[in-house]
Symmetry: C2
Amino acid sequence: MGLLIDIGVAKTNKYASRESGDTVEVVERPTGGFSLVLSDGQGSGRAAKTLSQLVCARAVAMLKDGVRDGAVARGVQDALFASRHGQVSATLDIVSVDLRTQELVVSRFSELPLLLSHEGEHELVGWGGDPAGRYGLARPLIIRRLLDPGLRAVVVSDGIASAGRRCARPALDLLAWAATVPSATPAQEAADSLLAGAIGRDGDKPSDDMTVAVVRIDRHDGETGLVRRLSLRVPVP
Amino acid sequence: MGLLIDIGVAKTNKYASRESGDTVEVVERPTGGFSLVLSDGQGSGRAAKTLSQLVCARAVAMLKDGVRDGAVARGVQDALFASRHGQVSATLDIVSVDLRTQELVVSRFSELPLLLSHEGEHELVGWGGDPAGRYGLARPLIIRRLLDPGLRAVVVSDGIASAGRRCARPALDLLAWAATVPSATPAQEAADSLLAGAIGRDGDKPSDDMTVAVVRIDRHDGETGLVRRLSLRVPVP
């Protein structure tokens, strides 16, 4: 029985907006494993999208070269600061399943919490940081856990965290949500569930771009042949 | 009613081999749309994997910078030729859904055919080329089609094309397979079906790394909110 890496992403645009300022990429690590990169660019519309694309492009290029995650996060932050003089910023989350070190590693520039679950325990970690690009020599927050079946990390963009605010509803309680979604739930299903909850909280008209990314570790039975699957479905506005 | 971009990939390793020499990446294009990159490195095992990873890394970095596909394919080929002097080669397929030009563009260095389907017509195109890295100034084969619901492109790696050879069975008939899989079939389901057929042909012990990538265009009804989904499931050997 080996490990199963299960990644699911669900995202939607701000209501009546054609472009989402959030960008997500998932790439294979040259030394084994996968990395998910999420960036939410400051502002909205085309400028925010271009910014989050640039941030993800640089992170992906470095990750594919085999650069260690902490250096990738620092490099992206410093390059953004150098080119835009601290006047624009973007969140950055790099969630890596590193098969070489057998660790889940999250490196992030974000003020929002990361939701970590393991064996029925749920915790909010790594929050309160600054976004990338605002200060010189800023440092990412880095969280590490040994890979273990049942481990799950959930990263959300600002639109999820602030869902309901426009309707004067309380913020989504990520810990309460996590307690209702068992660790065996497929990542895509978990992501869909949280996104649907946030959209509903905004009265079905998202007041910001919304992204949920779930990375979970499970076991596989190894009996059905080891088939890797990647699926992407994007409805174009 | 807008377009739905639907991409599905299924891959497996050579029997009893821990590493697949095939690498697949899917990235978002900075000017709108998505690109799938598939590379099958010469040989097998770790050297082939490292090679296909390098090829994909370079292609992904250029695509994320917004470089046009033909230039990306030429750049990857030339860089590989320059660094390895024509002594190693790798196939390269870049399948792009380009929302800026509203085209499906395939740029490839491969001797295997690409399977294109549209409105019940199936054709094998773009075959007979050399892999990347073998000759100086080699040119990619480029295929373009206007984006249209019902359009489907299927790219396979060598292990699919040669399935059954070891058991002295005839090669998979991609055109016959395509005729049995309607254009409305989800990309992941279509990829799974072709991979299963190839594995079966090899007596359930794949004699080479096998990858199937399906990129199809459909319509969406636009009623259920425009949620984008990305799912990756990887059982680790």
